[in-house]
Amino acid sequence: MTKEELWQAVLADIQFHISRANFTTWLANTEIISKQDKCILVSVPNSFSKEWLENKYNKLILKALYNINNDIKEVKYEVKPCALKTLDHLASTDLPKPKLEQLNFQEFKINKKTNLNPRYTFDNFVIGSFNELAQAAAWAVSKKPGLVYNPLFIYGNVGLGKTHLLQAIGNKIIEKSASKNVLYIPAEKFTSEVVSSIRNGTIESLKAKFRQTDVLILDDAQFLAGKEKTQEEFFHTFNSLYEKNKQIILSSDRSPKAIPALEERLRSRFEGGMIADISAPDYETRLAILKTKGQEKKIDLSNETLEYIASNVQKNIREMEGALNSLAAYQKLNNEQLDAKIARKLLKNLISSPPKIVSPKIIIQMVAEFFDLKERDLITPSRKKEIVRPRQIAMYLLRNELKSSFPFIGRKFSGKDHTTAIYACTKIKKEIENSEKFTDEINLIKQRIYSQSC
């Protein structure tokens, strides 16, 4: 006999011994939680029911149980609130919207338990060749969490939809089975939780919290870099979840290899599942994204304007959204249809100030910094190996990023011959083609250069 059947039999018996009103009041929403040897644990909806059943009906219930199963000697009761399920479906069937829209606190929409924002779904995620693989992997994971790609590691530059994809997986899993324990956490928050739990001595409860998740989503994993204790905590959490076949999903702005100061054992684990990257979207996809976003926000812009945005904001979807928003605000305010000319004027500071103001000085400075050298070392004609290579990289960057002439590059490094510069550039270029790791290194330096200059 199952627990449910047992309890049904008990209730069927008891209903003849007490009044109808008492029966519905005190025995509503009760059930057997567990059965251990001779003891039965019954869940009740509130403390009033608990008191009443313990003190008034205990004998009755015990007798009914005993009649069915002679082993049972004891019944215990526990309060489990149940009538408090969130009525989400009620919230969505709002009254027809009045002309005036009362804004509310957006933060409240974020699910407190999972940290997920319901705004991010697969439905409003635009797929293109640049993110196809990542999307497909994410979709597969959301169908069978823990079974297909574990861990799933998604990387790509800022503003390309990593967080969107990550949260969409979480939302999809929750939608399919609400009982799944999903937790979304940015790495930075993970770190601060670890730090504060170490301070308060509650590290054990933190461990327990992370280890009982079914799906753990860690966003911006690159911020774990250099935080040893956090990495250690995450490592153990990772292992414990992985062993139980629980899904782990990570994102970062670069591939695991390129995250500096990440412990080897974590790196190898990150690489153990599926790695998918999101690159910059092509022109057609950008246009498609703009159209979808426009529809979503009920912004009506001419095709010409959208095309203008798509062709000018190239690398970052978030910036594109920003451009869209500011045009929409302008249009709403002035009540006039925008043409490309006004759009150009409005988006001037967004578009025409891409961080292209890189000077040779900045490149040399950054390369030196990256390799922990002094600027002067790079420029002096030393032939030490640890200096030669960074110098070659700097030359390569000067050539590629600034299109400087070879003689100019030669002059910059205390009057070297232009052939030296040519040799350096070809050498580095070849190495980039051959070594993945080296490419990442160069990209890292480039990132630093551009983040410095804007």
Binding site: A21, N22, T24, T25, N46, S47, F48, K50, E51, W52, N55, K56, V79, P81, L84, T86, L87, L90, A91, P98, K99, L100, E101, Q102, L103, N104, F105, E107, F108, I110, K112, K113
Partner: protein
Amino acid sequence: MKITILKENFKNGLNIIERITGKNLTLPVLNNVLLTVEKNFLNLSTTDLEMGINWWGLVKTEKQGKISIPAKLLSSFTGLLPDKKIILEAKDKTLFIECEKRKTKIKGQDPEEFPLIPKIENQEFIEVDSYKFCQGLSQVIEVISSSQVRPEISGVYLLFQKDLIKMVGTDSFRLAEKTLSLKNKIKKECSLIIPQKTIRELINVLGEKKEKLKIFFSPSQIMFELVMPEISHPQVQIISRLIDGEYPDYQEIIPKNYETQIILEKKEFLNQIKTASLFSGNINEVKFKINPKEGKIEIFTQSSELGENKSYLLGKTEGNPIEVSFNHKFISDGLSNIESSEVIFGLNKDGGPAVLKPVGDESYIYVVMPVKSD
């Protein structure tokens, strides 16, 4: 049971416990009050199965015992008695009442049928000033909506932290936070959500009392206890369930900076909003326009049927020119909860939240979201 009690004392007790009775049809015993006599005390208790109220009064006891009696009937009847001694006697589910020239019989029910009010085992408690505590609660409770769509914000959130108590209420359009300081540090930090109804009852019953209020916790229950002024025995206990759920991270929505802020005279501001509200039609929109150069806030409402109203106030202003619309009710609600004579009104653009807070009092803050008009 048989006791003698002063009418005034008895009536006081009934007033405290009767309000939560009389709304239950499925279990008629919930319309009753349970009278229990033990030693020198008469205990009255009522419950609606979400909360329970206990009251104790000193009486002259001849015989111990208990009975359950319809609460409303007993209370209305007692109200009409002269201010004299009353003799109460229970025999066979019937209560006999004798007072001066009157003799009355009220039919009751088996006391064993009356629900048992849960007890809290934990003996640790926090002590607060009853008056200040209830005063604080009344500043946040009006904000809460009675909708059950989101149970976790249908109650007052209490956070006990070091030597502070934070009380928070919200309906997701606005939020009020009150901070009370305690004399003693709390050993353990904790937070809980108390049903709105319990808080209303608490304010009604204990709002005017100047005594110390003790608060006891358990994982699913909370108990407020007021001790008798004469002897150390509880006088009133309010026991309630807690709302199960996690309160949103409300701290994040309180803006740290404002685009524009203006300091206004509260009474005049409230008055102008009330005037303006007459012309806001059924959409309740009132528009504010602040011009920092002139140090002036303009209040504007308009209705196609009724007409329009424009007024302005002067105040100390910082920031940029701004124009934002609100539901006038939300603004006047916030102002009514502020006690100081001057108020800071901080606004943000692009649909960001605005803030009302008293000048020179950091303990209260009211956050409100604007309306977006087409």
